[in-house]
Symmetry: C2
DNA sequence: AGATAGTACTTGGCTTTACAAGGTACTTAT
DNA sequence: ATAAGTACCTTGTAAAGCCAAGTACTATCT
């Protein structure tokens, strides 16, 4: 079992949450999102983002419109739908609960170990 | 697309992290973990936990010993191995980074909403 | 003794999804 | 025309949670 594998698992779902949140802030297209996610150190690649955006659109959570570009092919600019907005709210609740639940577990550290030994 | 589905995705990986942490605090068996995870509001079912424990053992991250019980069949009491300990340390780093990265995204909220009120 | 209930652990099949790799389509520069 | 750059899409693979059914052991009831 590799650490990388678990790290991938940890990111799952969170990526969807972050993408919805980015779209909720205003119209963006895929490369915008990629840049923002990457600069926030949440690594995402095209092969992950595009299928995700397609899923979100099919589910009616986001919508898009084509916009001509002066430097290349047209772009899909995404916006959040109403149902996407309520979906995002639910995810926010879930995320906050998950953070709290996890810290409940983590803060119960006991006598037996000293895993945070910095040496 | 259902909210439950995304919520499941969010939990992935985090469950593994929590289970390793619980084991790191001392010997426990599966029902102990189930109870603790459930009371921390991280819902886990047997069909998730047992395969996870098997994976962790095969990966050498945890070990177990059979212990007789007075009220039923014997139990597998789990302990963390050395390599499980260093694995857990790496996951702690990953988890903290992920929290921070996510909050970087979320705190960029724009004029339109105030969903992540920081007060 | 046999049947039933409770506890603990296991397994097979299903579904979802991140990721890699390769592909299509449009625009601009040479 | 050809090349380069940008943007979006698709197919195949592997991983993992979940559901449901199953196995095995113990204690209790009839």
């Amino acid at each position: 079992m590799k650490v990388e594998n678990t790290q991938v698992q940890m990111r799952k779902g969170i990526i969807e949450y972050c993408v919805l949140h980015i779209i909720s802030r205003g119209e963006v297209y895929a490369s915008d999102m990629l840049e923002e996610l990457t600069s926030a150190k949440i690594m995402v690649v095209e092969g992950t983002l595009y299928p995700l955006l397609t899923r979100l659109r099919k589910a009616g959570l986001v919508d898009y419109k084509w916009v001509e570009s002066k430097s290349g092919p047209p772009r899909k600019y995404y916006t959040l739908t109403d149902s996407g907005g309520s979906f995002l709210k639910k995810l926010e609740v879930t995320w906050n609960e998950l953070i709290e639940s996890t810290s409940n577990i983590l803060n119960k550290s006991s006598k037996t170990n000293n895993l945070a030994d910095p040496s």
